[in-house]
Subunit: 419 residues, 2 copies
Amino acid sequence: MSLESYMNQIGQQARDASRILAKASTKQKNTALFAMADALENARPRLIEENAKDMENGRIKGLDSALLDRLLLDDKRIDGMIEGLKQVASLPDPIGEISNMVCLPSGIQRGQMRVPLGVIGIIYESRPNVTIDAASLCLKSGNATILRGGSEAFYSNQAISTAVREGLAASGLPENAVQVLNTTDRGAVGLLISMPEFVDVIVPRGGKGLIERISKDARVPVIKHLDGNCHVYVDDEADLNKAFSIALNAKTRRYGVCNAMESLLVHHAVAVDFLPKLVTAFVDKGVELVGCESSQAISSSIGIATEEDWYTEYLAPKLSVKIVDDMDQAIAHINQYGSHHTDAIVSQNYSKTRAFMTEVDSSSVMVNASTSFADGFEYGFGAEIGISTDKIHARGPVGLLGLTSQKYIVLGDGHTRDN
Amino acid sequence: MSLESYMNQIGQQARDASRILAKASTKQKNTALFAMADALENARPRLIEENAKDMENGRIKGLDSALLDRLLLDDKRIDGMIEGLKQVASLPDPIGEISNMVCLPSGIQRGQMRVPLGVIGIIYESRPNVTIDAASLCLKSGNATILRGGSEAFYSNQAISTAVREGLAASGLPENAVQVLNTTDRGAVGLLISMPEFVDVIVPRGGKGLIERISKDARVPVIKHLDGNCHVYVDDEADLNKAFSIALNAKTRRYGVCNAMESLLVHHAVAVDFLPKLVTAFVDKGVELVGCESSQAISSSIGIATEEDWYTEYLAPKLSVKIVDDMDQAIAHINQYGSHHTDAIVSQNYSKTRAFMTEVDSSSVMVNASTSFADGFEYGFGAEIGISTDKIHARGPVGLLGLTSQKYIVLGDGHTRDN
């Protein structure tokens, strides 16, 4: 079969399965999630065996140790996948909820019903556990999924797929509710993102390069996450103890995460008081600092920041520091150089915090809290498919709701329209 | 200046204006809308003069009378634009609304704040009043707008633009809140839909050809409206009097609208009772009928429908008719051949109406009501920028809310994240 025929078949099967999933009850979907967990449990030896093939190929190809680590499936990670399935089963089912029902002058009632998007294509890189993460969230929200993992995890993903489909079959839902592509042909990605008749939305998970490529070529809407160039602004009316904790936490909790602070903005009136102690704390943790001239005048530990630095998401123990004249300058800087991901103000001034919340054009705006909280679990969603930096559809951390849509329903009793 | 420089300048100006609009108060925005209405009032002679140039050029180019009619600006249409501005001013302002605020275990509170999308690009065809419609809805929802009208309405749109900008200037909001492109170069559209740094969403308004072209080439999200291939399904448990009124209204209220019924599905058990009287009514109104073999056996006024007919949005006094075995077949037909726009069931059976609402994958699903109600005004939005056939972001009639986004806000008091 040609690649195109194969993808069309996958697409049609997904569309057909999505019709059944859309009307599946919460109980059916949860039964399937538990059955998938049981099937993974039973497949442990096979999963580890197949993963060993990927690990061996990875070592031959010379993948670095970080990549190899992400690729590894061991008992603990299999435990994690099984636990994840059970957690998703425990989440409330968003499908079918009817809201905003109003009576209108014509006599009709109209409201909105929450429904699945239909078919979701997931494109991801090395970590095989994404297969389970993504498939379970899509299933719970009534969507069929087509998954395309990285070629380096091919055998692992195929083994997971087999287990998932065993679980689905046992539960009575269609096996094609979750389909993992069984080809490493790169053309498959190009086809997957160009089938609006079969695929309703694409969620890419991986590095910025992957996401930019997919967004550029996709003929299907993409829920995407690009940069996380996050800022903390310390106002002249900040509680400086809170500011210290928040800035330190936002930068050093973890370096490689999208909600880490990459740029610190400090009001000039508190900079001399505030910065030196914080700089020492950063230097102790091994964080490299670059900054504007004013910041360098305050601390010799701060190197020179270039224009490029203000745009940069380091994802590393490195931070840019800028002294600003006032909050307005901070907001302008964030809106210009930031990535509209997550930005925080530390201030005790009510009016300023209110203005900052309104004027900063980011998916999450924090007041007196660390940027680290921008996360689906911390926001109480129970799970997260990713964080969207788009403004359309889902913005910010995306949980089950982001995988749904709302259609209008109208209730009449023989009503017709006059004019 | 090159076209590219011109478009970049327009884009940057829109982005700058959007920052000011995002924090504009409801009062400021309403003042601007009224000032725009005053400016249009004062510009009547100029509007009619400039429109006469477009009409003359149109006649020379041989535009047909329907197009020329759409192009015409007379006092009544100017009244309509002025009235429209005042109506939009009277609508509630969606911006700044905070919802879903919850306290989380970490101690933070998180909620969502409704915010503008930013910059909206509108691409439209002949009717110059769309300039005012679109600009006013975008302004009320805090968005800057870049408008690109049809070249046949160039002089009219420039004159409207001048009035709009006079109104904006008088109100103190930036003139660049609304920019009408002053070029007829087709390359401008290509650039407008490829500037994600300046434009957040594109709303094309016009024929299917325009919308398909734009959707295909856009590098920016598109809120689009494609086909309206709408169905009415008459169940065997329908109140046949209601079914008669609804079917007649859905088809014949207006023929050229997207929410008109294009295909009638009738349960076989009531077809012999129900169809003949309805067919007579349709024939009396001059509606051409094509149908399946079973329907032709019932009425000799029904011609042969081809496979293509089931996919067709006639936008004309023509209807396809199909006899179905049961509701499930009707739903399958609608989901396969329909355009996911608006579909209705007529039935007194509670369980069937409930299943139909869940299973029909359309932006509006009607129960015992005419498809004609699928409309922003009928849904109580007070205005409509269009009807979306997308599932992502806005689905169905799009009012002010469809031109907004929600960002997360987090309130802490020095909170940091532990793990």
